[in-house]
Symmetry: C2
Subunit: 220 residues, 2 copies
DNA sequence: GAACTCTAAATTGTAGACAATATTTTGACG
DNA sequence: CGTCAAAATATTGTCTACAATTTAGAGTTC
């Protein structure tokens, strides 16, 4: 189960560097605020500065790094307000994605979503390590709905830009103790709305779902 | 009156090339589907291939060009479905921007928006050439609301990505004969909702406004 | 005459060297 | 001792050259 929405088989060195560095940022190995030296990173990845610069600029476009001309790049360091802004944007985009998905999703995809939620339900009672898989499963859920919108631009903005930021900061927020069950119930209602083709309801439920996650950001 | 949301004073050659090529694409000089040869463009702009490649990749991130590894870049050529997708995404983002703006906009900004609309009203009866200014004025209106959302990510997605695509394809769609007055009326209602701090209504009106523009895409 | 193959030209990907700018260190002065 | 200034260092921006891949075309074969 690939979580990264059909990652294009990295052909060029810049592509490989992009994916490698992005993974290091999202995993936390390269913490927010870390300076990214071109020479250092290039030798670490065994490539020249040319392709590495290209990777850095693409990470900048994805909002994972910030580049100051003549001064270099640093891993993005979001303020609380900026993280709220990410969730506000998510709410708008995921809401629309869910609305469109309700109109365009296939029955087989709805069935697959229900199966995914069954899986989550079983993992919910499980051990502590199941928590990690559950978190990733949550992203899988949202990825699938983004794709089901049949809107490539919308899906790309969510999957290529915002989700990486959310993952990056999720491990830093305490939150969701006992929210697993609640989130699962919300997911189930969303899939029901998708299956019924109720676009209005699907959008409403998704927006509430994302908003609920946003409210948790304030309790820390 | 700068329409490009605080364009950072182009310091680096790559920045200058980005803005120059972007202008050529949006204006139609570089038509959709045009092959962008690195060597050719580099000599045209009097720079080396290095900075030019960087400009190309940033245009790719803004969805104005498409790059195929080892094959080169072409100016993006949207299908009708993809253009609809742009408007669907706009509806989601501008709706949320308008909702947030209603909560955060300052009285002086509301007054400035009314003044802008007064200007449009006068230009409406005017000559044919006023049409052009009116079109640009429409973008100015939307830019200001995006900024008033106080959400940098949301504003950047609209101003840096989507609006360029919309401008690029607006000149190709026949549409809005006599829609000027209607659009102006919608704008006025939106500003009224902003001034009243009615977030729900502001979002609803903006979404309808964008949706109305989208429907026009089908009549050609 | 159409289709395939192989060669040659052109274009993109990458590496390394140099120039320009920022940062750090060192020293002097108040 | 702290602060400012200037040189030394390090880092980024840019250019040129080379390698790898794709594309165009000539030639051949069926």
């Amino acid at each position: 189960m690939s979580l990264t929405l059909d990652a294009p088989a990295a052909i060029t060195l810049a592509d490989q560097a992009l994916q490698a560095i992005q993974a290091r940022i999202v995993s936390g190995e390269l913490a927010p605020g870390t300076k990214l030296s071109e020479g250092e990173l290039a030798s670490e990845h065994g490539i020249s500065r040319g392709p590495l610069r290209e990777a850095i600029r693409r990470l900048e476009a994805r909002r994972l790094v910030e580049v100051v001309p003549n001064a270099g790049a640093t891993v993005v360091c979001l303020t609380h307000e900026q993280l709220l802004a990410v969730y506000e944007t998510r709410e708008a985009l995921e809401g629309m994605a869910c609305r469109l998905a309700a109109q365009r999703i296939e029955a087989s995809e709805v069935a697959a979503l229900h199966a995914l939620l069954d899986q989550h339900e079983q993992a919910l009672g499980g051990a502590a390590e199941a928590r990690y898989l559950q978190e990733e499963g949550d992203f899988d859920f949202h990825y699938r709905i983004a794709r089901a919108s049949r809107n490539e631009i919308l899906a790309s903005m969510l999957c290529d830009d915002l989700y990486h930021l959310v993952r990056m900061y999720r491990r830093r927020t305490p939150g969701d103790h006992g929210r697993g069950r609640q989130a699962l119930a919300e997911h189930r209602h969303i899939v029901d709305a998708l299956g019924a083709g109720d676009a209005e309801l699907a959008e409403l439920l998704m927006r509430r779902h994302v908003a609920a996650a946003r409210y948790l950001l304030n309790d820390n």
